[in-house]
Each structure stands twice: as C-alpha cells, then as structure tokens.
Symmetry: C2
Subunit: 336 residues, 2 copies
C-alpha cells in the first residue's frame, strides 16, 4: 500500500463455465467449489476498496433446468426460459454471496453483498425471435424432439450428436432493474446482478412480461456497466488474452487495442464465443467506459487495473495493438 490505489467502479462478468467443474460438472458441490475459486480475485478487489458489481453466465445451469423440465413434463408443468434464467440468478447469486463473504472476512473486510433479481428489456421485433439461432440444452435423438417441436420449440439437426434446441438471443436494450443495482452499489454493497444476461422481458401494455429467450451476458454487462457509471468492465473467461490466428505460426495475443481495431480483428478470432465478448468490450468503451478488459479469471486483479489481458480503451496509449503472449511487462504495480 505504498501508493494509494485509484478506486474504480468495476463490473466483472464471470463466464458460466467458470462456475462449474472443469469438465462441465454442474453438481452443487462442483458449482460451490468453482465459485469459491472464482471469488478470490473479486474479494481482493473489493477489499482494496473498489466498488464491484458481478454478473455471470448460466449456460450449464440453464441446460440442466431444461433437462429437468423435459424429463418431468408428464408430472409437473415445464417452466419457460425466462423462469429458468431467474432460477439461476438466485442459485448462483446466493452461492456467490456465501463464498464472497467468507473470502472477504478472511481479508478483514466487512463489506456486504446482495443479489438483485434482474430483468433485461428486449424488443419483441428483434430478428432473433423470427429466426432463433442460439443452441441451448442437450442433444436429443430426432424422434424425441417431435413432441417439443409440436409445443412450438425450434430444434435443429446438429449431425452425429443429434438434434438441439435453438432459441432467440435478442439484443439487450436496457436493464430494467439497473436502478436497484445502483441503489445497492451506492450504499456500499457488492452486488450480483443481471445473471445470464438478465431475465428477458418485452413491453406488454403498460408493463413487462417475460419471454422465451436468452440474452448474451457480456452484451448486457456492457449496458449495465454504463447504466451504473462503471469505469471498468472486466470480462473473465478461460483465456489470458484475445488471440488471433491461435495455434498458427503467426499466433498473436492482443494486449491493448481500441474498439474499432478490435472489431476489425474479429474475423480472425479463434473461438466463436469471443465475438460477443469483443463486441461487448467495444460497446462499453464506445459508450464512455474507461476500459474493458478480456482476460482469465486468475488474472482478474491485474485485468481490472489494465495491466494484464486484452485491454480495450478509446486510445491505445501508444502501445502496439498486438504483442506476444508475454509481451506486456507492466507487472502488477497497481495492486495494493
């Protein structure tokens, strides 16, 4: 603590896969163990005095809920996707609260935590509803999907693995419960919010109703971050940097870049899942955020400080856009 750390309002988006066992094990024990690991860096940021909001994915967890829906449909009424998202917000939320509070107490911090059930507004005219394309849940043999297709679900032939359900993944427009999050954040809480991108709702008369869809959690995080006036968005995933030409002789890690350049590089990303993360980072900065950083969960503290990972900012500060994987030598000088 030689130098005072500049305190920031930080939104951290945890990947849904970071909240299950390494093999996708979504048992309760595996989820709790994964969450306990995931909160270590988060707790360090909170204990240093930063204002922290956490959001999280929920893909494996929603997948399990869909299987339960399907296998119990003859006995109890299935619930729609918006309800599944809500369910995971609460279970992942309080699991994070328990783990994070334990870790904070170990660090001598008495900061409180809260989980806000969070709705995100989407447009019923979003093209996603007409052409669902986001695969969710498990693969099934074709004959088992016929009954589900008759219920109005869309299933696609995915080849040898079988058929898989696809749903709408509409653009998030605004986080309906952002005010709840801001109120709690301003009061000193670490807030867990907008899990799974938020419960999708559409305008309905004078109010809102849930709708069958899933929302990209990073795109929602970009919106929520700006609605909260967050300085920094950290997208925690399973790689240290966004890579281009991964596994090729000219493989490169992107260390510092601008929104425009990151979008230019998008076609070269190795992993398809990186596209929405890069787009979310770019949007957050375009909307006025100081920086968005994509990096791995283990480097969350340095990522928040902008000293590790793929750092996206309006100006690239004279750094080159690309460097090799170990090319950014800033170390962890801003850590408390």
């Amino acid at each position: 603590m030689d130098e005072p750390t500049k305190l920031s309002r930080i939104l951290i988006a945890l990947g849904g896969n970071a909240l299950t066992g390494s093999d996708g094990d979504a048992s309760v024990d595996a989820q709790q163990a994964a969450v306990a690991r995931a909160v270590v860096g988060v707790a360090e940021l909170v204990a240093a005095g930063h204002e922290v909001v956490l959001t999280h994915g929920n893909g494996p967890q929603v997948g399990n809920l869909l299987v339960k829906n399907e296998l119990a449909a003859h006995a109890v009424p299935p619930v729609p996707l918006d309800w599944c998202v809500a369910q995971t917000q609460a279970t992942i939320g309080f699991t994070i609260q328990n783990a994070l509070e334990s870790q904070l107490r170990r660090l001598g911090s008495d900061r409180r935590t809260a989980t806000a059930v969070t709705r995100t507004v989407v447009d019923i005219d979003d093209p996603g509803f007409a052409k669902p394309s986001k695969p969710i849940g498990r693969h099934l043999p074709r004959e088992q999907t016929e009954r589900l297709i008759a219920l109005g679900q869309t299933w696609q032939d995915r080849g040898a693995k079988g058929w898989r359900r696809v749903v709408a993944s509409p653009e998030p427009l605004t986080v309906l419960d952002a005010g709840t999050v801001r109120t709690l954040l301003d009061a000193g809480y670490v807030v867990i919010a907008a899990g799974g991108g938020g419960i999708p709702v559409v305008a309905d008369g004078g109010g809102w109703r849930g709708v069958e869809a899933v929302i990209d959690k990073d795109l929602t995080a970009a919106i929520l971050g700006r609605e909260l006036g967050a300085d920094v968005l950290v997208i925690a995933t399973d790689v240290d940097h966004v890579m281009v030409n991964f596994g090729e002789p000219d493989e490169e890690a992107i260390t510092r870049t601008t929104p425009a350049r990151l979008r230019d590089l998008a076609a070269e990303f190795s992993a398809g899942s990186m596209g929405p993360k890069a787009e979310a980072a770019a949007r957050f900065v375009d909307a006025g955020g100081i920086r968005a950083v994509i990096s791995s969960l283990d480097h969350i503290v340095d990522a928040a400080a902008g000293t590790f990972g793929t750092v996206v900012a309006a100006h690239s500060d004279g750094h080159s856009d690309r460097a090799d994987r170990h090319g950014d030598g800033d170390g962890d000088q801003t850590r408390p």
Copy 2:
C-alpha cells in the same frame, strides 16, 4: 382523499397457495393469473403512499421443483432444498414485479419494485434437524422412497396416500439480507423479499452455507418486519378471520385480540396451518409492531388499516376479543 391517510411501513405476507390456481395448479399461466389478482390490493396500498415489503410462500412451487429433481436425477444432479427455495424467490419475485408494476401504472403510480434474494439464518442445532417433521413434495409408493432414504432423506408413511418426505423446519433467527431490503425500501422501492421464509443458511467458519430445510414464511416475516421497523404485518391467507370452533354451533371469528390471548386460543384453531400464522402475528406485536392482521387476500387494504380481519395489537382497544363474522362495523373509513 378527504382526510390524509396515515402512511405506514407495511410487510405483507402472501400465502403460497394464493400464488397458484384455485386447484393448486402451478403452471406458469395459473401462477401469473393468481399473482395478477394478488397484487391488486397491494398496488392500492402502494399507490396510497405506504411503504410496502412483500414476502410470499412457495410450497406448491418447491413441490414441483422436488418432483423435477427426482424424475431427472439419472440425468442431471438434483439440487438441495435451499437451492429450490432460491429458485422460487426469483421466479415468484419477478412475476410479482411484472404484475405489480402493471397495476401501479394503471393507478398512475411510478413506484419501482425490486426482488432481493434473501437468506435467513437458522441454528444447525435446531431440534428440527434431528427430527424433521415438515412434509413437502408429493406422495410416493414406499418402494420408490428407498433410494431417496439411502441418500439421507427422511420419508414417512402417510397411510393410504403413500409416503412423503419430511424435512427440518427450523426457527428463523435473523434475516441475513435484511439490510439489502432496508436499503431498497428507504430508497422508495416496493421490495419482494424473504420468499419461502428465506434461503436457510447456517454459520460455517467465518461465513454461511445453505442447508436442507424450509422455514415458515410467516415466522420469518415477523422477524423481517421488525428488522425493517415495519408498523404493520399483514398475513394474507384464504380466510377472512382466524376462527375458533369452525363449523360448530359456537363458531366465532376473532376480530381484535392481543398476542397473549391469541396464543391462549391457539388450541381451538380449526386449521393446523393457522398456528404459525398466529404465532408470527403475536411475535411481531410482542417485538414492538403496532399491529399484525390475519385476513384474506381480498381484504388486504382494510386489513392493513386494521379495520378488517383478525387484528392483533398490544392492547385490544376496548373491542371484544371475539365477534361474529360480520361484527366489526368500521367499514373502510381509513381508505384513501
């Protein structure tokens, strides 16, 4: 609006059965329709300017989740009861938010709503854990329970209907997330919290961990109400008044009473489920609440005003403890 209404901080506890169809139908449509009816009176109180916190039961909803757990156990890991409670907090919570906001807009109110995931602390040494006695979920033939008993669950022979699982229903000690609720309430939100009595947690090292139990939602409401400094606790159920000797020639409705007298009468209650409601009402008043009222959902506005239902207060204000069902002629004079 001839006379200004005295504004109160009111905690309303909605029964879990009031949130499903009349025949216990827990389909999504039936739940949404029931919630839309349940929020009409609540919205009237909010629009009149009262500070309102809502809590709710979740028995039918948790029952459905347990069936899903059981029928899908060969495919996906079952989740424990604390997770089921969390799941229902989120689904019922955002369903109430959507319905309540629509109703508020119709009344010209722009009050905001929030759902807080809420943990309630219980004692791991509570006798309920050694001798589980609260029946939950569906009846099963004995042979289907053997596998579940082997997993550590307790099932009891309930005669002709089959066997049923019993779980711990420990005393709620404190609402861990009451500060979250208070922060939002103070900021003007209508807050939905402590659904299903709260997610049961026990002390674990320096923190908290979830535990397999269900907590009586009315007993938790009594604690939460006092932690929030609520003036009034309304326990909304399916009867207008607490009745003694129901169906007998000497049947009587209790209109105004004190905590001590209500406890004296408890042995004469017709319905077993009334015991915890009466005890919760008595505790709320004993702990300093102005009044607790047990009445039906349709009379929630008058119940909150203390002009209908079974009104429990430290002093019975010269009214007789018992009156016939139509004996309290106060009308709705305090309504705005």
